[in-house]
């Protein structure tokens, strides 16, 4: 292409090219470190993958010992659900003041509120579980505390975003009509935020069901502990059955929760 065809001169994109080169270099270094420093050796067990697969997902259906244990596993799963439900509900309530604290239009110190919520979210939930198990002892009680505190981080942030997006004209109209502060909140703010608050809480419940299946490994109750023990004993039939119970229950809850959330918002 000659200059005559392009009367407009080419934009100077040296800076862009430098940026791409820098990004490329950073990525190269990161991948170099990742690939050289990680020990990615394959340590297959004495059993072939096919055998393990069969023992995980086929044999449990024909093993009478495992079938006899299904009610026990369902009992563990109920406990898991109870942990998630109690934790999420407490978090859904405790997150409301945090949401108002972190919203730009209701709080003067919203940076502080956002900082607290970000801090909570940066801790992986397993860390909360460890702290609570160590302080209040093993069992579902510690799990509820861990889920409850950890969920405040995400719910508070989402609540704050909802509060920031409400229609302030309604509040103004109520104030002009002579409503006091409590009435403004009750008739102006609450009806606007309740559908989204509950939708986010239900969504968080889905996440917490998954979390509370995990928390058992540090002793915070639920199906996690028997699952880990069975996997350490290489009892793959039991592991497979528990996996099936978890997948079925989680799927049912996801479907229900999606239906409810569709109707709310």
């Amino acid at each position: 292409m000659s200059k005559a065809n392009h009367p407009l001169h080419k934009p100077n994109n040296t800076k862009l090219k430098m940026q791409y080169a820098l990004i490329g270099l950073i990525m190269f270094v990161l991948y170099y470190i990742a690939l050289t420093m990680t020990d990615l050796t394959y340590r297959g067990s004495s059993l072939s993958p096919g055998t393990v697969f069969k023992r995980l997902f086929w044999d449990p259906f024909f093993n009478p010992d495992i079938q006899a244990k299904v009610p026990t596993y369902i009992g563990y799963m109920v406990e898991t659900l109870a942990i998630a439900y109690a934790g999420t509900l407490i978090a859904a309530i405790l997150a409301v003041p945090f949401g108002f604290l972190a919203a730009r239009n209701t709080s003067r110190v919203h940076h502080v509120g956002k900082g607290i919520l970000n801090g909570i979210r940066a801790f992986p939930e397993i860390m909360f579980a460890i702290i609570f198990v160590a302080s209040v002892g093993m069992g579902p009680y510690a799990g509820v505390l861990a889920i409850g505190i950890n969920s405040i981080g995400m719910l508070g942030k989402l609540y704050a975003e909802v509060i920031e997006s409400i229609d302030m004209k309604v509040l103004e109209a109520l104030k002009a009509g002579g409503a006091n502060r409590l009435q403004t909140i009750w008739y102006g703010v609450i009806p606007q935020v309740i559908p989204e608050f509950s939708s986010y809480a239900i969504y968080r419940f889905e996440i917490d069901v998954r979390s509370s299946t995990i928390l058992g490994i540090v002793g915070a109750g639920g199906i996690g502990a028997p699952l880990i023990i069975a996997s350490m004993q290489r009892n793959w039939e039991a592991v497979g059955m528990m996996l099936i119970v978890i997948i079925v229950v989680v799927t049912i809850i996801d479907i229900f929760s999606a239906q409810i959330r569709k109707r709310i918002v």
Binding site: R43, P49, L89, G139, P140, Y141, I217
Partner: protein, 271 residues
């Protein structure tokens, strides 16, 4: 004098909140609370015990976790690097494999309804399995070590990433795609010239988001022997060496915060 109470009466007969809505709301509230008390009974975590538990936890943090053992920093750092490497490799693999899957899982590219539904179903199943359980299963197949961790996080993030990307593909501007199809472009050309330019910023942003999730998730994986920081955390917990535990917790917190911060900055500039 008779007029005033009458007007008050009319106001009183028209409630601000409709009666039907009130009944529905109180029923919902009743069900929610009933489930709560059931759960509280199962878990022994009644509201008053929840409040009581918090000071105990704070006291534990103050007495046992403080002060952290800073001499342990080097060991933690090398484990954190391993955790980060696992997350990075898993995210990269997932980002590569999620792209073709998401084209198959978006209705405006994949016109084959049966294949579309099948891929969607497959992705939904993947997403129901918690990452730790994937790790347990993969350890059964490929043994203890970082490879199982990478595999577990790969499958876990494939589900999330493919869902996010396919939803974005379904929401893109259809006009360029139609124009390319009208001029005789095949599927590959539609994707390359029509979808990719619109998708690329979102794709990069989602990949970074999944990287953040994976960093958090890979902390847990070590507990079942899939490499990373979880492994040393488990050992120190078993030894009740809380000074070391608190070093691990604090350093993980800082690492996660820094990674989130950088990733958020990049994502803000992208989309």
């Amino acid at each position: 004098m008779a007029k005033v109470p009458e007007s008050k009466k009319t106001i009183a007969t028209i409630p601000i909140v409709p009666i039907r809505a009130k009944i529905v709301m109180s029923n919902i509230l009743f069900v929610v609370l009933a489930f709560y008390f059931l759960s509280a009974y199962v878990t022994q975590a009644y509201p008053n015990r929840f409040i009581q538990g918090l000071p105990i936890a704070l006291e534990f943090v103050y007495k046992d976790l403080f002060p952290p053992n800073w001499g342990y920093t080097n060991k933690v750092l090398s484990s954190l690097v391993e955790t980060w490497n696992i997350a990075l490799l898993a995210t990269t693999l997932a980002a590569i494999f999620a792209l073709p899957l998401s084209f198959l899982a978006s209705s405006n590219i994949n016109k084959n309804a049966v294949l579309y539904q099948f891929i969607r179903f497959f992705l939904n199943i993947i997403r129901t399995i918690p990452e730790l359980i994937l790790a347990v299963v993969l350890i059964a197949f490929i043994g203890l070590g970082a490879l199982a961790g990478v595999g577990a996080l790969f499958i876990f993030s494939l589900g999330i990433l493919a869902k996010l990307i396919s939803e974005t593909i379904e929401a893109i501007d259809p006009n360029p795609l139609e124009a390319i199809r009208a001029t005789g472009g095949n599927v590959i050309q539609v994707i390359w010239y029509g979808v990719m330019p619109q998708l690329l910023p979102h794709y990069t942003s989602y990949s970074l988001y999944v990287l953040e999730i994976n960093v958090r998730a890979s902390v847990v994986l070590g507990f079942v022997g899939a490499g990373g920081i979880g492994l040393i955390l488990k050992h120190q917990l078993a030894l009740f060496n809380f000074a070391n535990v608190s070093t691990i917790v604090l350093m993980t917190f800082f690492a996660v915060t820094i990674i989130d911060f950088i990733s958020n900055r990049v994502r803000e500039r992208l989309v």
